[in-house]
């Protein structure tokens, strides 16, 4: 295999991984945009999403042979998981963050870390700590294009992620509530003057972010399996992706995720970083971004006109 095709392969793998980071990064960035607060429990919501998706999928598909039926089951499981996590996200906000909205900035952050522990320990208590495999809903025979191999599961990850991001872009740019969400993140008191119920917008933001995390969790489960602490590292990296793109910026989270995925997939072999140390790439990128361009790629660095 030539070096070129080898690196093309890394890039394909990186895009797949990055699409998952993007989906999860969106939840961090949307919440930050409105509340200026990092929801550190977000990674654990993706773990819950993976578990709910797996349970629903197993209940529906049973031991069925991979085929149209199992693919259908997978999408039903995804919808169920999204709905479950949307409600969970709104519940967490209502119980753990809303009462602290006027408190010291550190309080909701600590509360988020608490929620994170409750979710991951709760999952360990209910499901045990051994990891489970998420079965492929279809035959995963790789497809060869040139020298590059792409698996059906990678295609699924990319199609689902792109569809979710297109839907989200449509929502925030074209719908009444989507625009209200952008307005609230730009200027909260003024959006109240427009008659926007800010509490409702915040609830909706958590619902959407958590539903996207559920999808990200299920897609990540193919590669990483399902276990109670699966959200920690994936969540942290998605957070790095959000910072790379410019935290608070929705497009930035999409770009940041894919970019981080590619950097990780290409950077590790390029710099001869052993597999066990791959995670260092993401955090090295974070440090470089914080030093060079702390606002991220698409961060708001323009001054407001007064």
């Amino acid at each position: 295999m030539s070096t070129f095709t080898l690196y093309m392969q890394y890039i394909v793998n990186g895009i797949t991984l990055g699409a998952i980071y993007s989906l999860i990064a969106l939840g961090y960035t949307m919440v930050y945009g409105i509340l200026k607060f990092i929801n550190f429990a977000h990674g654990d919501v993706l773990m819950v999403g993976a578990f709910v998706g797996l349970l629903v999928y197993e209940a529906l598909a049973g031991a069925a042979e991979p085929g149209m039926w199992t693919i259908f089951c997978f999408f039903i499981a995804m919808l169920a998981s999204m709905a479950f996590c949307a409600v969970l996200g709104m519940f967490i906000e209502r119980v753990a963050y809303k009462p602290l909205r006027n408190a010291n900035r550190l309080a909701p952050l600590l509360s988020a870390i608490g929620v994170s522990f409750i979710l991951s320990n709760g999952a360990a208590w209910i499901f045990g700590t051994t990891s489970r495999r998420f079965p492929y809903p279809f035959e995963n025979d790789p497809i060869h294009i040139g020298g590059v191999t792409i698996t059906p599961h990678q295609i699924l990850v990319i199609i689902v992620s792109v569809a979710m991001m297109v839907l989200l872009a449509f929502f925030v740019n074209k719908t009444r509530m989507g625009k209200a969400m952008r307005a609230t993140s730009l200027d909260q008191p003024t959006s109240m003057l427009m008659g926007i119920n800010v509490d409702r917008v915040i609830s909706l933001t958590f619902a959407i972010g958590s539903a996207l995390a559920a999808v990200g969790g299920m897609l990540a489960a193919f590669d990483f399996r399902v276990y109670p602490s699966m959200g920690t590292m994936t969540g942290l990296k998605a957070f790095v992706a959000a910072v790379i793109g410019g935290i608070g910026n929705i497009q930035g989270a999409m770009i940041g995720g894919v970019l981080l995925g590619i950097l990780e997939a290409v950077g590790a072999p390029l710099l001869h970083i052993p597999n066990g140390m791959r995670d260092t790439v993401a955090f090295a990128v974070l440090i470089i971004i914080l030093l060079v361009k702390p606002d991220g790629i698409l961060g708001k660095n323009e001054r407001e006109k007064v």
Binding site: R176, K179, A180, R182, A183, L186, D187, P189, T190, S191, M192, L193, M194, G195, I196, N197, V198, E302, E304, K305, V306
Partner: protein
């Protein structure tokens, strides 16, 4: 008939008292001006009317109904503005990352009839032609005067009965300020919209108004028709530079 009635309201920020027992009223169809120096409490009064700052005592009544009360405040800002009040905040506060059109859409957030929204937008583009020309532009690219027009148009999108204007002339060239005030007078005459405004340019504000109040250190010290205040000796000395 008084559309807005403010009774004995007081507001404090920590230990600092911003408003002390302020009472005033705005009659339906009038333009009423509130003048006063920097820090007199003018913007605090505006924010208090729409529930953005809590009252320590007193009541704000709109259309015969209490909308803000100390202790048992029931209404949040979004519910107060739904009753038909629109505030153009000090410093304009346009949604800078949104286009002119999207800003107007936000102004019509409470309107559910999309045909009505479209018609309102066309009305605004006719009344403020510069906004029509820039409808697809991000609001941050507009000049200060254009942003002020934009903020007023956004407030008018909800077809309010009472328009509150907080320093519409702030930081703008005198000609632009005059243009804005003439627009305000046209709106008031054509649609009988009640206007309550706060302004540093006392001469222009009082000339345009039916009635005026003078606020000093959080207290109303004088009130009269706009004309009478213009000829009042102490007003001339303190605010008109005569």
């Amino acid at each position: 008939m008084a559309l807005l009635r403010i009774e004995d309201i007081s507001v404090s920020y920590g230990n600092i008292r911003a408003l002390s027992d302020v009472s005033m009223s705005v009659d339906e169809g009038d333009i009423v001006a509130l003048i006063g120096a920097n820090g007199a409490g003018k913007s605090t009064l505006m924010s208090a009317i729409v529930g953005l700052v809590p009252l320590q005592s007193g009541t704000v009544e709109y259309d015969g109904q209490a909308i803000c009360q100390s202790k048992h405040q029931k209404l949040t800002t979004d519910l107060i503005v739904k009753k038909g009040i629109a505030l153009v905040p000090e410093g304009r506060h346009v949604f800078a990352d949104m286009t002119v059109e999207e800003n107007l859409d936000m102004g019509a957030f409470m309107v559910r009839d999309s045909a009505l929204i479209a018609r309102k937008k066309e009305e605004m583009y006719d009344f403020f032609p510069i906004l029509g020309a820039r409808r697809k532009q991000k609001t941050r690219s507009l000049s200060g005067g254009e942003q002020q027009m934009m903020a007023i148009a956004r407030a008018l999108m909800s077809s309010p009965r009472l328009l509150l204007l907080d320093e519409p002339g702030l930081g703008l060239a005198p000609l632009v300020v005059q243009d804005i005030f003439s627009k305000i007078r046209i709106i008031n005459e054509e649609s009988r919209l009640t206007v309550f405004l706060v302004e540093q340019n006392a001469r222009l504000a009082l000339k345009s108004s039916d009635y005026g109040y003078v606020l000093e250190n959080g207290r109303i010290v004088l009130q009269d028709t706009g004309e009478n205040l213009l000829s009042n000796e102490s007003v001339q000395k303190a605010y008109l530079g005569a």
